[in-house]
């Protein structure tokens, strides 16, 4: 897998992780419910899933790039992912859950291809 491919994958995993963490919070789950959205998982499970994705992101980055590069890449991608999620929460809330799922699928495809 090329470095750009890796970074893209990390960002996608980061986006779904951040989506999970975001929707696990009462405030945002409530906002989503107000727009007519429903969540398939409880808050606690979402939080676990989110952290699991973040951990896997770091493990994956470290395996591919070693400790130093891996940690830097994973942290940087997490920052970008958090930005994408907060923008979606603020301006396109109904799309958030879909964003999380789609980026997880894309990440999986990239992993299989690359």
């Amino acid at each position: 897998m090329t470095v750009s491919g890796l970074v893209l994958t990390l960002c996608l995993v980061g986006v779904s992780a951040m989506t999970c963490l975001c929707l696990a919070m009462k405030r945002h789950a409530f906002e989503l419910a107000n727009t007519g959205g429903a969540l398939p998982l409880s808050g606690k499970r979402l939080r676990c899933l989110g952290w699991l994705l973040i951990v896997s992101m770091f493990v994956f980055a470290v395996i591919f790039q070693g400790w130093s590069f891996g940690l830097v890449s994973a942290l940087a991608c997490l920052t970008l992912a958090a930005m994408v999620v907060i923008m979606t929460v603020t301006y396109y809330l109904p799309w958030l859950a879909r964003l999380g799922v789609v980026s997880a699928i894309l990440a999986a495809i990239l992993l299989m291809v690359g």
Binding site: S4, M18, M25, S68, F69, A76, T79, A82, I86, V89
Partner: protein, 554 residues
């Protein structure tokens, strides 16, 4: 307010208010005092992550670099040139082209003998790697000067600038730690941004810029202090090495082992063939970054090869020390020969990000933008808070508030305008003009000054709107200027796959559009504000709109 055990303890120690209040006070004032210097540091530092790319855009006559020659061929070409240019030197320092950070070979020498035919005792040249000819592009400040402004305030000597930058960095560090302490709900508010709610929105934006890139901010600030380490804390070295002992300390820390004084007996310098061959066997093809020759053509010559730092986050790789006459390998110095130096090198390496490839470099750039946004929103937050109070008490003058507001407008919108005119000057000043590179920089600062004056004379929101618009137009039209003044316009760059040129054109265009959009948002909120009668509430709306825009643009 939730109180930690720590804050209870401190609160009892200070009758003036709680621990958190004291920390808020400190956060506010360390942030404001040198806030505009910090803005300059963040803006130019962020641009600096693309310093060589900006260099290339600013010297369009330089050839598009194709596949470079092998390290050995290049080193030999450069060596032939150095033998003419700098005979009997104390040192030749050859930087070989290696990826993004070094496009053309460059050399530096010192202590050459002018009697033996040297062009000067010390010098620095950028060469063509095939012919060894000096490259003579237009004189420009380039990306390097822009990036150096980041740690060396251009017109001041190092003696002053190190202290100002150091103090600003120190305040930044204090600001970060106090900011973490006073942020009540760092996790609860993590994904919360509430636009259109005045001061609340500014605070959200400030938190957003700060928290998301917090690891970056902490790393960049502490390592920033370490860059200034020996200037800011000279006493530690001096007390152990004496006042004059700095050189010895630096030699002990930074020089590779096995360097000896010149024997003053001429001896031919070993050919680079076997030396570079050994290094490449160890490190891989094309991974020799520096050929550092101590006392060339002397009996005690040493050839030190530096490994490329493309596979480490540190500022230094492995070094091999060869005897410069026999070509024997004398020492292999691993990166972590000294653990303490290694820690420092990793900090500095993370700061500079020279190891970062394209994708990671963009993420560095993004983190820099977030840092810039953090400083900008912090400065604006200071004014929105006070503007609200001030408007409740009309008739009183608020000199401090007005001053900060004007400085904010002139700097947050005006300094980027200065950078845009820096690029304009690069294309418009006559190519043969004397002191051309220096004038580009003068124009940057003159523009900034003009923007500050303009902001001082205009009403606040009009000044924001007009300066943001001007900055936006200056940036967005740069690709047009480039197309008119060179043959390397955007379509040409895209067709020939020159991503550096295309990337620059597209990036400045996007930045420009961002600024114009910001100006548009200020305008619409200003107009809607005018239609309503003057109520305290409208201030909040107006301010929050402004925040959406500048927050997103800077």
């Amino acid at each position: 307010m939730s109180q930690s055990p720590l804050s209870n303890k401190k609160a009892s120690a200070s009758p003036d208010g709680g621990f958190r209040q004291a920390m808020t006070w400190l956060h506010t004032w360390v942030g404001l005092t040198l806030g505009w210097v910090l803005f300059l540091i963040f803006v130019t530092g962020t641009a600096g992550y693309f310093d060589t790319e900006i260099d290339r855009w600013m010297q369009p006559e330089l050839p598009f670099v194709e596949a470079p020659l092998s390290a050995l061929e290049t080193a030999n070409v450069v060596r032939a040139r150095l033998e003419q240019e700098a005979p009997q030197a104390e040192r030749w320092y050859i930087n070989l082209p290696a990826g993004r950070n070094q496009l053309y070979p460059s050399v530096f020498w010192q202590g050459a003998s002018e009697e033996a035919g040297a062009s000067s005792a010390r010098g620095r040249l950028t060469l063509d790697s095939k012919t060894g000819e000096t490259l003579t592009p237009r004189d420009t400040g380039g990306g390097q000067t822009l990036y150096q402004m980041h740690w060396r305030l251009h017109y001041l000597g190092r003696g002053y600038s190190d202290w100002i930058i150091g103090l600003a960095t120190l305040f930044m560090m204090v600001g970060l730690v106090t900011g973490i302490i006073i942020h009540k709900k760092i996790f609860v508010d993590f994904f919360t941004f509430r636009p259109g709610k005045g001061q609340r929105s500014w605070l959200d934006a400030h938190n957003f810029f700060s928290v998301f890139a917090l690891p970056f901010h902490l790393m960049i600030t502490y390592s920033g202090l370490l860059f200034m380490g020996f200037s800011l804390m000279p006493l530690i070295v001096a007390s152990h090495y004496g006042d004059e002992g700095r050189r010895q300390f630096f030699a002990e820390v930074f020089d590779p082992p096995g360097i000896v004084d010149a024997a003053n007996t001429p001896a031919p310098l070993v050919p680079f063939t076997s030396v570079i061959h050994q290094a490449e066997q160890r490190w891989g093809q094309g991974r020799v970054q520096v050929v550092d020759v101590h006392h060339p053509q002397d009996a005690s010559a040493r050839v030190v090869l530096y490994e490329s730092i493309d596979q480490t986050v540190s500022t230094s790789g492995e070094r091999l020390v060869f005897d410069g006459v026999t070509g024997d390998l004398l020492h292999t110095e691993p990166t972590d020969a000294s653990m303490v130096k290694h820690v420092r090198d990793v900090f500095l390496g993370l700061h500079e990000g020279l190891f970062a490839g394209t994708a990671l470099r963009w993420l560095y750039f993004l983190s820099g933008v977030l840092g810039t946004g953090m400083v900008a929103t912090g400065l604006i937050l200071w004014t929105t808070k006070r503007r609200k109070t001030a408007e409740r008490k009309p008739g009183r003058t608020h000199r401090g508030l007005v001053l900060v507001e004007k400085l904010n407008i002139g700097t947050i919108a005006g300094l980027p305008a200065g950078m845009a005119t820096y690029f304009w000057a690069n294309r418009l000043l006559p190519v043969n003009m004397a002191g051309r590179g220096e004038w580009e920089i003068h124009i940057l600062f003159l523009t900034w000054l003009a923007m500050l004056l303009y902001a001082a004379l205009r009403p606040r929101l009009k000044a924001w709107q007009e300066l943001l618009a001007a900055t936006g137009v200056l940036f967005a039209t740069l690709p047009v200027l480039n197309a008119l003044t060179t043959e390397r316009h955007l379509l040409h760059s895209l067709k020939s796959g020159d991503w550096v040129f295309a990337g620059f054109d597209i990036t400045v265009f996007v930045i420009g559009v961002g600024f114009v959009f910001a100006a548009y948002r200020v305008r619409s909120s200003r107009l809607s504000d005018l239609q309503k009668p003057h109520k305290p509430k409208s201030t909040a709306v107006k301010v929050s709109k402004l925040q959406d825009t500048t927050g997103g643009a800077v």
